[in-house]
């Protein structure tokens, strides 16, 4: 395959609408898969409040991540980092983004693969599922961000429809067991805040903003778009949390490996309409696919800019192998995957990805502004 048939990476543009769909799907799949508001801390029946709090915390981080992109609407983070703090320091800082994309792809794919291996394809090798997803993601990334955008256009309605179906079927049971939400907020703000920490920090996914803002049609509005995507996925998170807490119970729900999934499995609409978890599974698969493709695009694009390549496509093959291998080997088993999502590990780790590069870049930007002159100039 030659790269000449594909548009140049520098000229590709996606609509802000497609940008919104991508961000919405990549966050929604991960926050509802492990449902950290319920499983990561002791929020129990108040987890829905944690979900609300998590929106505000995550929004703050989105502003930190995306704020600079608005100031440099034509440039990716790798490019403006070099502009702000010099060529080599800029490249060094950008490597942190690459590390973040690597871990995020590996983890998202791994969660999906673990769910399939635990619940459905018990005899399929884990690596097979991981590499199928990575190959699909590579194909999408190879075709370019415009194609991923159109895939998001197509999959978004299906994704939303399937989530809506799963949640709609849960309504009767949830209403019958709404007592599980009481006592409401009886233990003060502590548990609610603790429950919101991990969902807030998973916003590290939105580091993809640093690479995606310049490819949107209206980069100046991209930050607003990202916040809308976050708001949408927070709404889904609140609804899913309410459904799981009522139907599975706050205690049992917090012990489950894949709470949303187990909840959907218990639904029994009528004698002839049951086993509807397949809806949730498909939605999940689509979301992971979009997420993986976007991160592969962002990762290879960032890498190509760091090493000064014209096109990012030649990097997809080698990096896909690294990503897939990392996904299979970075976690020995489900225990390690769950350990990764414990607040004391995931919070400092992800905060490092966000705050260190963005902190340096914001500081440089601030100093250049204060020193007078336009930071956009060299």
């Amino acid at each position: 395959m030659t790269t000449e048939n594909f548009p140049k990476a520098t000229t590709e543009k996606i609509a802000n609408r497609q940008f919104l769909y991508m961000l919405f799907m990549m966050r929604t799949t991960v926050v509802i898969a492990l449902l950290p508001v319920l499983t990561s801390a002791d929020a129990f029946q108040d987890a829905w409040a944690s979900a609300i709090v998590s929106f505000f915390g995550a929004a703050l981080l989105v502003l930190i991540i995306g704020g600079l992109g608005i100031k440099f609407p034509e440039l990716t983070a790798v490019e403006y980092a070099q502009k702000l703090i010099g060529k080599w320091p800029g490249k060094a800082v950008s490597l942190i983004f690459i590390l973040a994309f690597l871990v995020i792809i590996a983890t998202d794919t791994r969660i999906y693969a673990e769910a399939l291996v635990t619940g459905f394809l018990t005899e399929t090798p884990l690596a097979f599922i991981v590499f199928m997803m990575v190959i699909a993601g590579s194909a999408a990334a190879y075709s370019g961000i415009e194609v991923i955008g159109r895939a998001a256009d197509l999959l978004f309605p299906i994704f939303v429809a399937m989530l809506t179906l799963s949640l709609a079927f849960a309504i009767p049971d949830a209403l019958a067991m709404k007592e599980n939400l009481q006592p409401v907020l009886s233990r003060g703000a502590g548990p609610v805040l603790r429950g919101s920490m991990v969902p807030i920090i998973i916003i590290a996914q939105y580091l993809s903003l640093t690479m995606l803002i310049p490819v949107t049609n209206q980069p100046k509005k991209a930050l607003g778009t990202a916040l809308w995507a976050l708001a949408g996925s927070s709404l889904v998170l609140i609804l899913v949390t309410l459904a799981v807490t009522t139907i599975q119970g706050p205690d049992h729900g917090s012990r489950l490996v894949f709470p949303f999934f187990s909840m959907v499995r218990t639904l029994n609409i009528s004698v002839f309409l049951e086993r509807i978890e397949i809806f949730a599974l498909f939605a999940w698969g689509f979301g992971i696919f979009i997420g993986v493709s976007v991160f592969m695009y962002c990762g290879t694009r960032a890498m190509s800019q760091i090493i000064g390549l014209q096109d990012y496509r030649p990097l997809i093959g080698p990096l896909a192998v690294i990503w897939g291998t990392f996904s299979v080997h970075s976690y020995q088993d489900l225990f390690e995957l769950r350990t990764y999502f414990q607040p004391r590990i995931v919070i400092p780790y992800n905060l490092f990805w966000i705050l260190v590069p963005m902190g340096i870049l914001w500081a440089a930007y601030g100093i250049r502004s204060l020193a007078g002159g336009n930071p956009n100039e060299k």
Partner: protein, 407 residues
Amino acid sequence: MKNRLVALVLILVVMPLSGCWNRRDPENLALVLATAFDVDEESGVHKVIVQIANPLAMGGQDAGQGGGGEKKPFWTISANGTLSHQAMRNLAEGVSREFFWAHNRVFLLSENIARNGIYPIMDMAARERQLRASANVVVVEGDIKKLMEAEFPLEESGAKGLDRQIITIRYERSLFAIKTLNQLYNILAQPGREMFIGRIKVVEDAQQVEESSGGNSETPNTPPPALIKGGAMFKGDRMVGWAEEQETLGWAYATGRVFRSIVYIKDPVDNNTPIGLDIGEMESQMHPETDANGTRIVVQIKAEGHLHDIPVDRDLSVQSDYIKSLERRSAQAIRNAVHSTIDLSRELESDIIGFGNLIYRKQPKLWDEIGDRWYEVFTDMEIDVRVEMNIRRTGLLASPMASEKRR
């Protein structure tokens, strides 16, 4: 737009076509219809009895001529193991096909295993991917093996019979606590509330049926394999005792789980003639009230019903004093049932209505103080059951025949 629609339809069409890569074809699986768990108290060995659909005999009405006529439509087999999951795996020693558990509709627990604690089974069922938490759970009084082998006169398999009988008794008499596995997890984890699981009584011989139904029915030619009523009361994951008809009704009244129920009272005029009422709708609400004397719990029950047995000539105009006194008497009958449940709950320390949970939910601070010694507090706690009964209809007959015409 049209192309996008076509693409969408194509994707949706492909979804149900996904097959299994390891060719585990449905027609070659042993479909488990019902699973029973038992434990030997002395050795601690767990036993699992399953009922498997027999496709050779189930293949429709013509199967009799096709050579499968001698076969029962289902097959019962059992195996032992250290814990129930091992026993389930050990079943394979005697079965020619691979098991498929996802169609299991009923979990039956023997009295033995219920009294020894059912959490090990709940734990296993939550981990095992094929078992569904939406299956119903019942506790069996009597020989569980015999029940699993029994044929239900109107049904093709025992499992289907049980499944139907559970639904039927619930809608007809509200005498059964339907609990899915998922609800059991919920209740076990809730503070101040205990599990209450429906009971199935195995019929050992026809004599028993006669006694059970009050001695006024003739011995049927084919006795039913099982009678469903009452329930098993738990403390923690261990069963502590049986609730009979009255206590089960009290539980259903207090928790608002009544679809239809009958109340018999005595005629307020001559204090002798039995009068029957059908209760159609019932709502129940509970809330704690705190005043100078401490906290008490108010149970408010609103019931609506109609007369269906009134063999004496009385004034049945709706506002009449007679109807009012019928309402008072039936309200008292409901109150008695609820109180009998509360008394048994106190005696067995099994708070199946969930008064403790009510306090935990509404007054979490108070629960922090009393939660550890809930059953001490519960014994002395005042529970005020207020019943409002409304008789709405008199059936299709407006007024009974005058007494003198019947002579």
